[in-house]
């Protein structure tokens, strides 16, 4: 089991009950899509899986309970690509940014640089290594953010809206990249074709609860979750 969550509840400071009792589990190597309306709690839930938010309930990730003593280890095992990549990139150059995770984890400098370059290569961003991240296009930022996570070689990848801003070839190359990775993956997305190309497992969030878990096609049917149908 890579993730095990029991009765997780969370309230934001302003009183919003974002999570109202979530039970969830997934196996190593499994890929699951998270669907659900805007504001249903998907991002909030993801932020709990590496301890950025702390609610009530039990969470275990990669065999470790999420608590103060384990946070650093857990953050190395969980790679979280945030919904807004502007917040994710904060170093002066793309290469430094991607190397940030490995270096923070104590990896030696040359090795950190090697891992960063390798991750940039895999996301097709190596040629932008020397650029300032805030001068990249939105899609390029997304790819660099993903590279930054891959460089840490996490056991669980959580991607919050990974396809927004990616052009069609960019979406296809992300799909190819992800399908070749052996890690467990959570794909939070409104992009059903993209999710379906990577997994047939889905979870449906509704008002801070998991309303259903199972086959992706069935869930899309049951909640009428197709954005548009092409004739």
């Amino acid at each position: 089991m890579i993730v095990e969550v029991k009765d997780l509840r969370f309230k934001y400071d302003d009183g919003t009950e974002a999570l109202r009792g979530i039970d969830f589990s997934m196996d190593r190597g499994e890929t699951i899509a998270f669907f659900g309306a805007n504001g249903s709690g998907k991002t909030t839930f993801a932020l709990h899986l590496n301890g950025l938010l702390r609610g009530e309930g039990k969470i275990q990730v990669a065999g470790l309970a999420v608590n103060d003593g384990n946070l650093q280890k857990i953050r190395q095992k969980v790679g979280l690509v945030l919904q807004d990549s502007d917040n994710q990139l904060f170093m002066p150059t793309v290469l430094e940014d991607v190397a940030f995770g490995p270096l923070a984890a104590g990896v030696e400098v040359r090795e950190g640089e090697r891992r960063a370059k390798d991750a940039l290569e895999r996301t097709g961003m190596l040629h932008k290594s020397g650029k300032a991240p805030y001068h990249l296009s939105a899609g390029e930022k997304k790819r660099v953010a993903i590279a930054g996570i891959l460089a840490g070689d996490p056991e669980l990848l959580i991607l919050d809206e990974p396809t927004t801003f990616l052009d069609p070839p960019g979406q296809r190359s992300l799909q190819t990249l992800l399908s070749a990775l052996p890690q467990a993956k959570i794909l939070i997305t409104h992009d059903i074709p993209f999710a379906a190309s990577l997994t047939n497992q889905a979870v449906f969030f509704h008002q801070g609860r998991i309303a259903a878990k199972g086959n992706l096609r069935e869930i899309v049917e049951r909640f009428d979750w197709q954005a548009l149908t092409t004739s």
Binding site: L52, Q72, R75, N87, M91, G101, L103, G148
Partner: protein, 236 residues
Amino acid sequence: MHQHARIERWARGTGRLHRLHPAAKIVFVLVTLIAISSLRQHAVAACGSYLALILLLAAATGLPLAGLLKAAATVLPFAFSFALITWFAGQGERAMLLVTRSYVSAAAALLLVGTTPMPALIGGLETLRAPKFLLLVMQFLYRYLVVLFEEAGAIRDAGASRGGSLRSLQLRQAGAAAGVLFARAYQRANAIHQAMVARGFEGTIRSLSPPVFRWQDGLFMTLFCGVSVALRVAFQ
């Protein structure tokens, strides 16, 4: 372009001073600032000499001199208001001293930040064993500043695209916009901090190319600290 973005662009240059170890530059600028702030007599002549020294170094590393002089002038409004108070208190000479000293000090500080990108500057302070807490505060101030400028730009663009302009804003609206600006900057900075933590940040940022202190850095530091001290002694 924003002042801040311009200085950051200067800092990414590759001139002689740019290539020096940040610690060597920090020590030189600190010594110079202390020398300037301890000036009591012949202040204008002394400040003139320090300014000449700063401009010489700036020219040697390819910083735009006019740009540097202009950026240093940012401190003048503050300096003038304090000087005015001093002036009214009947201390004309001290008022003059205050203005010239602030201006030249600003130019010295700009020489440092205009040749050293922020992460390198913080790395240099770390080499000099500055307290970790101070470094953290600096990192976050810097982050907040960048974010503040970005958010200001975004709000201005959003306003412009809806047909407004900063000038057409009424005072009350401007106040409200400033409130939103700070709230947004604060939220962004928090989100960035959260992202840093998510990626394993524990208080120090390690760089891919930590600078090495070479003999050239030592030579620069000794030589120019010497010049600063000599100037100070000459205007005793």
